[in-house]
């Protein structure tokens, strides 16, 4: 946390988003974009970041961040199944939603290398 108080309007102008920035973010988010999409999204996302510049108009000083309307606390209970129906049925139904399932496990292509 910074100790100095930020003065409203004192922040230097933000560098605009580039298509390289957005390509990097898309990669992190596991999304593939065409060149046309990349150009469109870059402009649109940059406009939202312009909107975010409005946040600099407020003196946030040493105000702490809020992640949640209440302070989050752990809620403990006994470790017993709370679902109203049979655990075995539940397992089969959950597995049934899997795109590819084998021997009661979700199956994916190789994590390292490529499938032959």
């Amino acid at each position: 946390m910074s100790s100095h108080h930020e003065t409203p309007g004192a922040s230097p102008p933000r560098a605009h988003l580039t298509t390289d920035d957005v390509a990097k973010v898309a990669k992190l988010a596991l999304l593939e974009l065409s060149d046309a999409e990349l150009a469109t999204f870059t402009g649109q996302l940059d406009a939202v970041l312009d909107l975010a510049e409005q946040l600099n108009e407020f003196d946030i000083g040493d105000v702490p961040p809020t992640a949640h309307p209440f302070g989050l606390v752990n809620v403990f209970r006994d470790d017993v199944a709370a679902i109203g129906h049979d655990a075995e049925v539940m397992r089969e139904e959950a597995l049934a939603a899997g795109p590819e399932v084998e021997a009661h496990q979700f199956k994916v292509p190789p994590a390292l290398g490529e499938a032959p």
Binding site: L28, L30, L55, F58, F70, M90
Partner: protein, 483 residues
Amino acid sequence: MTTPAPAEAESVLAIAEAVRAGERSAVDVLDVHLARITASDDQIHAFNTVTDGDARERAAEIDAAVAAGETVGPLAGVPIALKDNMCTRGVPTTCSSKILEHWVPPYDATVVERLAGAGAVIVGKTNLDEFAMGSSTENSAFGPTRNPLDTSRVPGGSSGGSAAAVAAGFAAASLGSDTGGSIRQPAALCGLVGMKPTYGAVSRYGLVAFASSLDQIGPFTRTVAESAAIYDVIAGPDQRDSTSIPQDHISVTAALDQGIDGLRIGVITELSGRGNDAFEPQVVEATVAAAEALSAAGAKVEDVSIPTAVAGLSAYYMIAPAEASSNLARYDGVRYGLRKPGPNTASMMAASRTAGFGDEVKRRIMLGTYALSAGYYDAFYGKAQRIRTLMIREFGRVYENFDVLLSPTSPCVAFEFGAKADPLTMYYNDVCTIPSNLTGQPAMSVPFGTGAHGLPVGVQVLAPMLGEPVMYRVAAALEGMAP
């Protein structure tokens, strides 16, 4: 065009009373509503799925229970529609996204269990902006919902299908979810009452997560009393939601007739729309008229300034996408949902997400990923979280001197399809509704007169944490004085 406004006999309260007394069968009530769906939902597209088979069985069970003299719940035989982001065991829950198009949850959301326990009959799952991201329902992967009051216009969003289902008489009431205004804004645009409860008042268990610190489930109804009746059923603590408020729910129905004499009501200057070209003049005037009516009825009404309220929009479009980028990371083609093939796991995941998500969802995931990334976290997400603290403090101070606050719900009445194609223009629809999500406080929209093209205008009543009883009192008063 579509069905006429349903008669008094179709209200949640009238249906439940008649069914409980054995004067009307739940099956008959259901058939009336299903007939309307069959006749005109091809024009409206309120529903993604109509659960007519399950609904008939459920209605017959209720009629049998009534005939056997058994106790039936307070919503006996009431047909209710659910936004398609609430899990229903054995019934597809799509979030209007291709990525969940064929997903069938193995469990019910807590709100679904509570409605069933109260005797309600679930008629179907309603259309929404994909993953509840939008303000017009145009972002649905399955096509938009049309506003039953004017089918050339949007119903609002993201809970547009739930709003349209009630406005068209397809269901007596419905549930939506509200992350930045997604219940209140469509309620305003469809001439309904829409309520976002205090964060934690209604369990989120089984609500597909968009922005977990902002999401809340609430009702759409035609009247304030019906809204209270539904809210009284769905509210209350739930062990399965760690953010659920652990204290017993206090009935809001009991508060409805307490009047407003002596209440202190503030009109939020920054959200009033006065002197702001982005607001339609009739919308601004409706809030002024509502304030004058409340004053004449015995409340003390004055303007109040909340400077950070205008920063809500900016803070929200950092916080909500940040949370969404994390929540939507689970859609990777492994355990459920769409899978597109790829030579390795990472390429399979990217192919699945690229094919499964629409543009608005992609925009928000990328925005959130950017706002959370190294080097930008403090400047965007961190700053937005601090503004959130300032807002909570400012609203807290204001509520030391006021019981409730007022503003317009939406800057405009229902707009035409494609009118707000630019994302920022669309985002601005939520400028008045977002602050209550960031603070966690309750707020509701009540119809108050008409604006451009004779379309309904909503006035928003905001209240402090767990201030639903006083909020409903003011809403009931406004409803009684609406032009």
